[in-house]
Symmetry: C2
Subunit: 262 residues, 2 copies
């Protein structure tokens, strides 16, 4: 089962974290390709970190060559035993969502990853095709519920006539699909109250938590996100690790911060 697999990796390394691979031109050493950069980060952290999260946008921005680097990066990370969460926030109508699921969850495809982030604005039609293939090929999705950015409330915090926010309604719609092994939520570290609220309402859902570090979230902000067993969470840090002078040291510091709150 897919989140069971992620949880095992997290437990084995005692590190509920994920290194976000958001390579920018300014970070590359002279002559270094996107893949070389990612390989350098992966080689530095793969034995202490359970997961990496390449952000598709930063590869798409480099065109076809960037996407070739993305494919190589995903394959290399998986060879190293890392759980690869591709952050692509895909979302479309059912027949199109099927094509996206095929792109990212088919065995042996160029972009085969372990989990994919998705956007649920189109409702359950656009989510089900991912879950169908996820069950067959041991994959998972993280759907956006409450995002980490400053304007996330403009849509997500709207109050509905049932007295609930849009993000809680979205979470309930997703929860009704009844597949917490393959369907998790994205909930930002920058909104600790909402993170706590969502954990209380959804005790067994796996959370991908962005917004740690550069965006302002701390380990303390995230403490309430863990489930009753102290699991169910993977916290992402992108710039804080990959742009550090010593990515391994940065990952170790982050891991220590989470050991400190337990």
């Amino acid at each position: 089962m897919s989140f069971s697999r992620l949880q095992k990796l997290i437990d084995a390394k005692n590190a509920p974290i994920c290194a976000g691979l958001d390579p920018r031109a300014s970070m590359l050493n002279g002559g270094e390709s996107l893949f070389d950069f990612n390989k350098r980060v992966i080689d530095a952290v793969y034995d202490i970190v359970p997961s990496v999260k390449p952000q598709s946008a930063f590869f798409e921005a480099f065109g076809l060559g960037g996407l070739e680097s993305l494919s190589k990066t995903i394959k290399y990370a998986r060879q190293k035993g890392l759980y690869v969460i591709l952050d692509a926030k895909r979302g479309d109508i059912g027949s199109t969502a099927e094509a996206y699921a095929e792109a990212y969850f088919s065995s042996g495809s160029d972009f085969e990853c372990d989990a994919l982030t998705v956007n649920a604005y189109l409702g359950s039609d656009g989510i089900k095709p991912f879950l169908e293939l996820a069950k067959i090929n041991d994959k998972a999705i993280f759907a956006l519920v409450k995002t980490s950015n400053p304007s996330s409330g403009e849509v997500q915090d709207l109050l509905t006539d049932s007295g609930e926010s849009v993000y809680v309604s979205v979470a309930k719609t997703l929860d009704a699909l009844d597949d917490s092994e393959h369907l998790g939520f994205v909930v930002g570290a920058t909104y600790p109250e909402q993170l706590k609220e969502l954990r209380l309402k959804f005790p067994t859902t796996f959370f991908l938590v962005p917004g740690y570090g550069a965006q302002g979230g701390t380990a303390k902000d995230i403490a309430a996100a863990f489930n009753a067993d102290g699991g169910g969470v993977v916290v992402n840090n992108s710039r804080g690790i990959i742009a550090a002078a010593d990515p391994r040291k940065a990952a170790q510091d982050m891991i220590e911060a989470f050991r400190g709150i337990k």
Copy 2:
């Protein structure tokens, strides 16, 4: 200005339509590549149709080779004078949205198109970077407001405490960015009442209308979407054109249907 450019093409051909390029393996003639298939469709319709809309998912599903075909398809269509709307529904936090804008709106990039569909669930932070580059490079975005699929109401039709639906709130948030030359809405043909409501509320916004044909929308359903000048709309048809035995005839029939409602 970008929608002015699209409107000129629509007026010149008297055809407010767009041929959706959603190639599937089952549609390809023996030995035909994705690009060959698209070229065949483009060659058949480019003189009567102002715009094409490649759906990124159907290229991503073919991996790196599929994305190479996407790049070639976009370039070929633009060479033929077509306005290319890339349907990729991208959406992320601000710094990531900048990278997506670069991928699709930079001059000479592998995927440079004329317009891109985007998802506004993250609020205005994720939209502004697209508008900034759109203004400089004469591009445009269509943000999802009310989508054409059966489950679109699960999130989009939720009533907020102001008495408005989520899709109207999203539309207002977008409208507040005050850039109707570069920011349009996606509104499905399958929800004619909502299409009419949105035109009344947003008289000058450009609408991309999917859901015609295979999904059930008719020209009559879409009549109320046009603005006071009879413009401001581009209606997409994917399977109805590209899977037809004679794509040119199918496009002509669709064009006639719209001339019939004027």
